[in-house]
């Protein structure tokens, strides 16, 4: 039995030791906002926060994540500055990668509230978007940074 803390709730799951956290989040906990894209840590669609770091949840096992503080897209606040910026700039197209994009951006902003274009390139280069919404992602990260500076939350 593995004990997981996800979005401030505790879950007990029974899975094989090598089961990636991604699949436990999606199938056992049924939080489907976290997406499967590649399974090899190349695309970032499965990005979650583990103890405040952006992690590809396909690359860690549930067992390794036990006892740590895990946050998924569903655990971000409803009026999160990033979500508002994403809506304001109408960033998503198909939308599949954007849980991961937002989770990646959230860690960037937590560590660096006023990122430069170069900082955004470095952090967000980990996340693929086949629809090519990159120009808007860059714009929305800057916007979220501005919103946070004005007292918005992230």
């Amino acid at each position: 039995m593995i004990s997981l803390n996800i979005n401030s709730r505790n879950y007990q799951v029974e899975v094989e030791d090598d089961t990636p956290l991604l699949w436990v989040i999606r199938e056992h906990i049924q939080l489907t906002g976290t997406k499967f894209g590649c399974g090899i840590g190349e695309c970032g669609a499965c990005t979650v926060h583990i103890d405040g770091e952006a992690v590809s949840s396909c690359q860690v096992t549930a067992k390794e994540s036990a006892g740590k503080k895990i946050t998924t897209i569903e655990g971000l606040a409803e009026n999160d500055a990033l979500k508002n910026a994403w809506i304001e700039d109408d960033v998503p197209q198909c939308g599949y990668c954007h849980s991961g994009q937002i989770m990646q951006a959230a860690v960037l902003l937590a560590k660096n509230p006023q990122p430069s274009d170069g900082d955004i390139d470095e952090a967000m280069g980990a996340n693929l978007c086949r629809c090519g919404t990159y120009q808007r992602i860059r714009r929305a990260v800057h916007r979220a940074s501005d919103l946070m500076g004005q007292g918005g939350k992230s």
Partner: protein
């Protein structure tokens, strides 16, 4: 998680009067994850046609028959209705249409999304649906107030009687409107009267795509749902010789191993067990006739074919004589590889086959085919097969397949295990699973007159047909020519007196398919790259050279001029930046792009800015057009710089994003979009931005280095091979 509303027989008849009949069912994927009992919607009171339902609470539900795969149809199509319905936009909610003849594509006769046709095919249909509903609501108000209908005006969700200062909401009028007959051929607004169309509107699906609530096919969860992965032949055209399931069945969680048409399915409680089970599975394959397929050899074969005369796709004048008499001749070979669509959401499908029913949840672009395929496999009547269209995590054509293979797999497995099953493709399954944009080989010879103008052009295309052997063959192949293989060049707009375009249908085998912008995805690269070569040979500016050859095509000229003007054509060189230009018509729209690049000594191409001018006729949602152009640039650059599916020993050499890379954010150029004002009928938007990207970049690379790249992708190795001085 589902909520099904049966519309009354009365309403069904009215819908039938307008749209040709069919059972009208609504399916609502409830993004709030509310249990069915918690989900509340006021009773539908007024359903004037298949696309609109108005509840007593003023809710206006718009049933959209096009799949939302990122192109924005869940917003742009409701805008068409809103323009005529005079609805309060905040009251609109969207439902995916069930499979029904009422929702067939107006030109295809089946339900589907593709070919950048959504706005074009729904332009009249959706506006008429909105106008008919509005007229009925206005008439209902007139009846209620006992006044003449022409004093009643709908606006923002209310009907007002201006003379008597009365008003009723759509919800309040719905019951009365439901008693009226739907008008036929309601008059529509003229474009100068538009209030909604042509003004940017935020997408209705964005909030759910920022909080994890948007439900894609892969997110469907059902009680007792099993997950399957399928072991498919390692070579296209291969088959299972024998298999041993013992090791797979030992994996904890594996429930069954079943043989289906396309391979061996490992079915488990969860994905990970299914995936581990497939690794353990022992399969012996008969590799079939393509066991030796090799991309290097294939290119040679295509080259040999190109030396022979092909089937004539376009001909005017006398190319042979004109070439013989030309002042200068230019010859070139352009070739492009197979490409995978690689949508971010890997293919998947959920099927629940019962003795007397079949229910399917899938992100598909071809609902009717998929529904019919399931009926065929199960022996059930079509009306017993219910197909629910979810959000699509990207499509680009990959989710529109005439053989319904990714739906049939799920149906066959569910039939075998007698339980609901979700088939998930891994990324490796996706990259190696075929249905690619075909590789294409192009041989060109042009003759210029003594002033440098093109006198004659011979263009030979060799590629597999995407239509051959599919249900679309009859409509797409004519006299042996797959029109999509030569589209954009057989109908080249350039004024060239003598033209011959011929085509060789390369041997079938590798599954090939439409891929965002279809044949234009490579014909534009060839046409516009070669046109640049002709301009350079003639010693003329590539922009001016094109202008002189497009005098009969004002819309192409318009975007060419606009892109050149906005990009500051010819003024970038001083900043160490090189520009390339390309212009192309596809899917009813006209697009020119100027790409600005630098080339590193390593051969790495950096695209800094793409200026894009589009004339797509009348505009629905300008921000969506901008978004689609940005998207097309990223998609086009991925193909231009990275995309390549190759074969060795019959096997695909790439497998995942590490060796089939996509453009990443740091490489995204600044994209500037300029939309022409137009009153022409709407053109497509999802695809036409892709074709000009690769040639604009290739032409800019030539401007930067003097090297002409005629093979995609344009990676550093290609530049070094072309002679780049490091």
């Amino acid at each position: 998680m589902k909520h099904i509303i049966n519309i009354s027989r009365r309403d069904f008849c009215k819908a039938g009067a307008l749209f040709g009949g069919g059972l009208v069912l609504g399916f609502h994927v409830d993004e709030t994850h509310a249990a069915p009992g918690q989900y509340t919607e006021a009773p539908t009171v007024f359903a004037p046609n298949a696309f609109i339902r108005i509840g007593s609470d003023d809710t206006v539900t718009i049933i959209v028959n096009k799949s939302e795969m990122g192109q924005g149809v869940y917003t742009s199509l409701p805008m068409l209705i809103a323009e005529e319905l005079e609805v309060d936009w905040r009251k609109i909610r969207i439902e995916a249409a069930p499979v029904d003849a009422a929702y067939n594509h107006t030109q295809w006769g089946v339900q589907g999304t593709g070919g950048s046709t959504s706005i074009r095919s729904c332009w009249d249909q959706f506006r008429q649906a909105g106008a008919a509903a509005r007229l009925m609501l206005e008439k209902a108000a007139a009846v209620a107030w006992n006044v003449a209908p022409d004093t009643c005006r709908a606006e923002n969700g209310f009907v007002t009687d201006t003379a008597n200062n009365k008003r009723l909401s759509f919800g309040e009028l719905a019951a009365g409107a439901a008693r009226l007959e739907a008008p036929r051929d309601p008059p529509l607004k003229k474009s100068h009267e538009f209030k909604v169309l042509g003004k940017s509107r935020k997408r209705l699906d964005t909030p759910d795509k920022t909080n994890g609530r948007a439900i894609f096919g892969i997110d469907i969860m059902l009680p007792g749902l099993l997950t399957a992965v399928v072991a498919r032949p390692p070579v296209f055209g291969g088959a299972v010789k024998s298999f041993d399931e013992a090791a797979a069945k030992k994996i904890a969680g594996v429930k069954a191993v079943v043989r289906i048409e396309r391979g061996i399915a490992v079915v488990a409680d969860h994905f990970w067990a299914a995936s581990r089970g497939r690794q353990a599975l022992q399969v012996s394959w008969d590799e079939g006739p393509l066991a030796g397929l090799d991309s290097v050899e294939q290119k040679k074969q295509y080259g040999q074919l190109a030396e022979q005369p092909g089937l004539i796709a376009a001909q005017r004048g006398d190319v042979a004589s004109a070439l013989a008499g030309a002042a200068k001749k230019v010859e070139a070979v352009y070739d492009v590889p197979y490409l995978a669509h690689a949508p971010m959401e890997p293919l998947n499908c959920v099927a629940d086959v019962r003795p007397d029913s079949c229910e399917i949840w899938v992100g598909t672009q071809l609902q009717t085919y998929d529904r019919d395929a399931a009926a065929g496999l199960t022996g059930l009547p079509k009306e017993k097969v219910q197909l629910h269209t979810t959000y699509l995590g990207g499509g680009f054509g990959r989710r529109a397949v005439g053989d319904s293979h990714f739906v049939k797999e799920a149906v066959q497995i569910s039939q075998a295990v007698k339980a609901p099953v979700k088939v998930i493709w891994t990324r490796e399954d996706d990259i190696q699973g075929g249905y690619y944009r075909p590789a294409a080989y192009n041989k060109l010879i042009a003759g210029l007159d003594d002033k440098g103008a093109p006198l004659a052009l011979r263009h030979t295309v060799v590629s597999q047909s995407i239509a051959k052997g599919t249900p679309f063959e009859g409509g797409m192949i004519k006299d042996g020519i797959d029109n999509t293989a030569v589209e954009g060049v057989a109908d080249s707009p350039y004024e060239i007196p003598h033209l011959l375009v011929d085509y060789h249908m390369a041997p079938a085998g590798v599954p090939v398919l439409w891929w965002r912008s279809v044949g234009h995805s490579y014909t534009a690269f060839v046409k516009e790259g070669f046109m640049d070569e002709l301009a350079v040979t003639a010693g003329q500016d590539p922009y001016d050279y094109r202008r002189k050859l497009l005098t009969a095509h004002p819309r192409l000229l318009g975007v060419l001029d606009l892109a050149a003007e906005k990009a500051g054509w010819g003024k970038a060189a001083s900043k160490g930046i090189s520009q390339g230009i390309a212009v192309h018509e596809s899917f009813g729209s006209f697009i020119a792009q100027v790409a600005e690049v630098t080339v590193a000594k390593s051969g790495r191409i950096r695209v800094h800015r793409v200026v894009c001018a589009i004339d797509c006729g009348q505009v629905v949602n300008p921000d969506t057009i901008e978004a689609q152009m940005e998207s097309a640039v990223a998609f086009g650059l991925t193909a231009a710089l990275y995309g390549r599916i190759t074969f060795k020993n019959g096997r695909v050499e790439q497998s995942n994003f590490h060796d089939y890379p996509l453009l990443r954010l740091p490489e995204m150029p600044r994209v500037e979009v300029h939309i022409m004002k137009s009153t022409a009928p709407p053109g497509g938007v999802g695809e036409p931005g892709v074709p000009p990207v690769a040639p604009a970049v290739a032409n800019a690379v030539h401007a930067a280095t003097g090297l002409r790249l005629r093979t995609l992708p344009m990676d550093p190795a290609a530049l070094q091979a072309a002679g780049l001085k490091g």
